[in-house]
């Protein structure tokens, strides 16, 4: 056990898996001597050498393309895309290539790779560093998309992702990198993929959150608990494929659902959840499903980003609306 921040837990996961499995290599921009711009790979080059912790040229499509080839030829590449806003450069190699190697070859080849990437708002980064782009990948069969919200999950989910036989996009909320510390086992352990986590159970309303919005959801839920209103908070953990079972079970109990994410509203993952639940828990719903999300604009400049992001105020309003409906 060690008391770790999320970014330390991520580093720890990489370390134990590199120890466990020779095939695991890391590649990306500035992940070597520099240890990554957030230090997620700090020190790993000293432990595992330049051959397994590789500073690549500055070319995201090249990084993912090379990872596809590495994975086809039986390595376990863990690539870092320095910020998720740069992932657009790699959409072909992720969505048209990595995600389809297995399908295209009817199972003869596969590309089990992991792409790690930090993202998320509220930390005053330059343009295109904060954008939540998970929805682009939740529309791509063949991929898995995972997002931790705390140090323990981060390590366990990342180990699961590395061991998974499919390409996994592992999205790391920057704001949570050093937001808190938690006891994390030193050895390898896994947290299962496509299994949502009921963080807090409750009867009157269900909130589905993931990554950076989980702390917002739990804090508001605690607030309401004081007032005698019990809210169920579900941390999605895996964004794709979505664990609808857990959400449906919850909504069948509470009859109300709010989804909270930082991504732009239209076309976001919240819409998919709302659509699915509206259909499959139609007769359990007591009020309309609402979404508390980023607005339908590009992620704005730093001076106003806090007004753009979902926050406790907006979540409270949604809860009131839902309860009074």
């Amino acid at each position: 056990m060690a008391n770790l921040t999320m970014v330390e837990a991520i580093r720890d996961a990489l370390k134990v898996e590199m120890e466990n499995n020779e095939s695991v290599i890391l590649l990306g921009e500035d992940i070597g001597k520099n240890g990554g711009v957030f230090r997620a790979t700090d020190g790993l080059i000293d432990m595992f050498g330049e051959e397994r912790v590789v500073d690549t040229p500055l070319a995201e499509s090249g990084i993912v393309g090379a990872s596809v080839g590495l994975a086809i030829n039986h390595m376990r590449p863990v690539a870092e895309i320095q910020f998720l806003g740069f992932i657009y450069e790699t959409m072909d190699q992720i969505c048209a290539q990595a995600a389809r190697v297995r399908f295209r070859s009817a199972g003869r080849f596969s590309a089990p790779l992991v792409i790690r990437s930090p993202f998320g708002g509220g930390v005053r980064t330059p343009e295109l560093h904060a954008d939540s782009l998970e929805a682009l990948f939740a529309h791509t069969p063949g991929l898995k998309v995972v997002m931790p919200s705390n140090p323990y999950d981060a390590k366990g989910l990342l180990i699961s992702a590395i061991r998974d036989e499919n390409p996994v996009l592992f999205l790391e909320p920057m704001k949570l990198y050093r937001a808190s510390r938690e006891e994390v086992p030193s050895e390898a352990y896994t947290v299962p993929l496509h299994k949502a986590n009921i963080i807090q159970s409750g009867d009157e309303i269900t909130i589905v959150a993931y990554g950076p919005t989980v702390p917002i959801a739990t804090s508001v839920a605690n607030e309401y608990l004081q007032k005698g209103i019990s809210i169920e908070v579900i941390d999605l953990r895996t964004i794709y494929p979505i664990d609808f079972e857990t959400i449906i079970a919850s909504v069948e109990k509470t009859g109300r659902l709010i989804i909270v994410h930082e991504a732009v509203k239209t076309g976001g993952v919240g819409g998919e959840i709302a659509a699915h639940i509206s259909q499959h828990a139609f007769f359990s719903l007591r009020s309309p499903i609402t979404r508390v999300t980023g607005y339908d604009t590009p992620y704005p400049v730093a001076s106003v980003e806090d007004d753009w992001l979902p926050n406790v105020v907006r979540l409270r309003e949604a809860i009131e609306e839902s309860l009074n409906c």
Binding site: G65, D92, Q93, R102, P141
Partner: protein, 360 residues
Amino acid sequence: MQILDEINAPYHQIIKSTGEVDDQQLNDLNLSSELLLEMYEWMLKARLLDERLLKMQRQGRIGTFAPYSGQEASQIGSAFALKKSDWMFPSYRDIGSCLVHGMPIEQLVLYLKGFLQGGSPPEDVKVLPVQIIIGGQIPQAAGCAWASKIRKEQDVTISYFGDGATSQGDFHEGLNFASVLQLPVVFFCQNNQWAISVPIEKQMATKTIAQKAIAYDMKNIRVDGNDVLAVYKATLEAVEHARNGGGPTLIEAVTYRIGPHTTADDPKKYREQTEVTQWVDEKEPLIRYKKFLQNQGLLTEESEQQLRQKLELEISTEIEKAEKIVAEPLATSFDHVYDQPHANLLEQKIEVEKRTAEGR
């Protein structure tokens, strides 16, 4: 640029288009008669298959298909330079290379019929499904070669692509990675002068593709892509260079696409038939090589006829085998999205199975 002409000067040929042979190089290559003949056999097989597939397409027995007639010397010569354990990342037009590297004709036909099975070569055939996205396979080939290098295995990876592909960002990123990391990979570009309707002059400002290697300080070879022996020699040199830790090579095989881009294409819209005739008359790879073999006393019209019949039969047999096979139903696809279908997918699979079973 004067200097560029020097860099690109060595345009490798062994059998000139006039039929003359560079005896020195031929001797150096030191190929057995069997191997010389075998190459012809594969070139002819590839050509006959191409013609057959074209017919099948016209009859609606296979889908859209990209003929490769005219490029057999490039495809066969290069594939002959590989070991069975080497990796191949082909594009849609590289059927000749795939054949030589072990892809059964049956398999190729299934692919062209749009059957799920078509993408899955036998276990011991290290040929990736053909790439549709122009250039997409180039950084992948670099990555595949990287894996071999990391594990200190001797396998080399070859990536095939066309002149048009050199314009893609992935070409650049892949070659840069390979050169920085000194990977055992051969980038084999068949410059067939056209990317669908776009001639090479509109594709790039350079006279050669080989010179693009200079941007990566990479070994390059420019070779007559219609001279199977020259292609074989060039590729062997690149493959051995890679196998010995020398790093990547960019090969430009100068060749020509005699047919349409695909069966959906009408080249009369954009190119003069005289251009085609001229290439064929002057440089056609099979005619040239056949003449050479005849001159060497290795082939006669008669033995060629026999070979032709044998190959036609082989092709027919394989096609028949393929045509007996039933397409995998849609439901099977669901098993190949992930190693294990997730809950939602399973539900959808069951829906599809039910629908199929009930004939809806």
